[in-house]
Amino acid sequence: MNNFIGIVGTNSDNSTNRMLLQFIQKHFADKANIQLCEIKDLPAFNKPEDRKAPDKVQQLSDKITEADGVIISTPEYNHSVPAALKSTLEWLSYTNQPLIDKPVMITGASYGRLGSSRSQTHLRQMLDAPELKARIMPSSEFLLGFSLQAFDEEGNLKHQNKIEELEQIFDDFVQFVDITNQLVKTNHSPKKQTKSFSWEDN
């Protein structure tokens, strides 16, 4: 069984994105081991000279490196990705770059009808940047709109059609992870090259 981690894309105490990941973790327990990771306690990125990852960043980074795949669930703040998640990705890109070639699935929940569509688009563009270079699962989008009303008391998604949509995407992701990791394994050297990318020496 694959080992995934789910990154909660917010530092807020209450988060429907956290609920969504908790549901995914529970609902797909027979398909993958999913560990949830918080970004709450990470320091704010400030481009330190020494390019050294603070402990908490290092811990997250290690988990990503060990995982077969990563699920990121992003809120939408002002039509974009929240600062807390941007900061996390800045740390990762600036230090160990663990997301390079890592299979990633994006989900998102928002209070309004659009379900974080705009921030998911931004997140895709970000993960495509040369220092992140994740393998984002293409042609898939899981948008959870009206997220405050989407869960029942047990934290399960209320609407069956949303659950089915999620199951479909999750199955795709499990396959996508296997294929991508095989591909990446057989192509070791390009990975080394991209690893060394830095804007400063460019």
Binding site: F45, N78, S80, A83, K86, A129, N202
Partner: protein, 396 residues
């Protein structure tokens, strides 16, 4: 005009900070730019509201007190840095100082793309309902390969880049004026009621009973008054010309001339070029219109202000320069009071001219040079007038 420049980076060394500092220094004759850092603003956290902390309140006050804001954004992973994102989250959570605020975006980054992607993201963020800023369209100022852009004195090396930056900045000043007139905030008095821009009154020379908005107002009015034309002679002070000669003479004037009478009715222009070829567009069918119909409503206050200066004898001429034609034209609009023998105001002569050819000729003849940089073209008393010009054809 007071502008704050927000450094979109919290790094100890930031090219975007250098860029804003350069703008503040190099263009200090044009505008007053105060550069603000965001290093002491904490990372946004919905569960830990720090809106009332001093750094956020300080930023809030500075923005509220400014006429406009310039944001200089780096590009981190194809988007704006978390530090800037965080500031905008604070400024859209419990307080909304950017609501309705004119904003200009600039950006510097390592890539040749020069922060183009993050600037697009920033536009989208500023457009979100909680922020609701008014971002100047177009005029993308992208400084790519920024590590090669500054000299050892932190000045931009490339002359053309500086020139373009100046064009953007001047447009921004005009943009702020337009936004201000549009919003007409409490602080700024709407002067439009001081002039009868709809020409509802009448003076001795007003040609009555003809629809001022008619496309053929000129034909109707000349029929009604049996106006002379062609080879008929008219006596002038001092000379005698045929109407044709008078026409040729006026068209040969090295400027676009427009006359509106003291009733604020547009009566004449030296129709030599079609509107698209004019510096300040006029169309034949507009002649006869009240001035209100020649300007967008947001400019009424400024138009009225100009006419008041002339009518009340405060000024004989009010000038404004219009940089929107690009760096290759020095376009000046002059609003000249027209008065009778006794000094009574009888109307306005607006003459519009690109003075660059004359300046170039003069410099060449005398061997002198324009030094640039020191020339203050936009600021000061004419800021109210800026919105008048360029708006003389009303498209709706």
């Amino acid at each position: 005009m007071k502008i704050v420049g927000i450094v979109g980076s919290n790094a100890d060394f930031s090219y975007n900070r250098l860029l804003l500092k350069f703008i503040a220094k190099h263009f200090n004759q044009i505008v007053d730019v105060e550069v603000l850092d965001i290093q002491d603003i904490p990372l946004f956290n919905q569960s830990n509201d720090q809106t009332n902390s001093e750094p956020i309140q300080r930023l809030n006050r500075k923005i509220m007190g400014a006429d406009g804001v310039i944001i200089a954004t780096p590009e981190y992973n194809h988007t704006i840095p978390s530090a800037l994102q965080s500031v905008l989250e604070w400024l859209s959570f419990k307080i909304h100082p950017l609501d309705g605020k004119p904003i200009m975006i600039v950006g510097a980054s390592y890539d040749v793309q020069g922060s183009s992607r993050s600037q697009l993201h920033l536009r989208q963020v500023l457009d979100a309902p909680g922020v609701n800023a008014v971002v100047m369209p177009g005029n993308e100022f992208l400084l790519g390969e920024v590590h090669r852009a500054f000299d050892e004195n932190d000045n931009l090396k490339d002359k053309e880049t500086i020139q373009f930056l100046e064009t953007c900045l001047k447009k921004f000043i005009r943009f702020i004026n337009v936004v201000n007139v549009m919003d007409s905030p409490e602080g700024m008095k709407d002067l439009s009621s001081t002039e009868d821009l709809h020409a509802t009154g009448k003076i001795e020379t007003t040609i009555e009973d003809i629809d001022m908005l008619a496309d053929d107002w000129v034909e109707q009015a000349s029929d009604k008054t049996k106006a002379v034309e062609g080879d008929t002679y008219v006596k002038l002070d001092r000379g005698v010309l045929t109407v044709n000669q008078l026409n040729y003479f006026l068209k040969s004037m090295p400027a676009e001339l427009t006359f509106a009478d003291s009733n604020n009715q547009f009566l004449y222009y030296n129709y030599k070029y079609e509107d698209e070829d004019m510096l300040a567009a006029r169309r034949p069918e507009q002649v006869g219109n009240p001035l209100a119909n020649c300007h967008p409503e947001r400019a009424f206050s400024s138009v009225a202000w100009v006419i008041q200066q002339l009518r009340n004898g405060k000024e004989d001429v009010v000038r404004t320069h219009v940089p929107t034609h690009g760096p290759d034209k020095f376009v000046v609009h002059s609003y000249q009071a027209v008065r009778d023998e006794d000094g009574n105001y009888v109307g306005i002569n607006e003459y519009v001219k690109d003075i660059k050819p004359i300046i170039d000729w003069y410099l060449e003849q005398t061997g002198q040079q324009l030094t640039g940089g020191e020339v203050d073209a936009v600021s000061g008393a004419t800021s109210k007038v800026d919105t008048v010009s360029g708006a003389t054809v009303k498209d709706n």
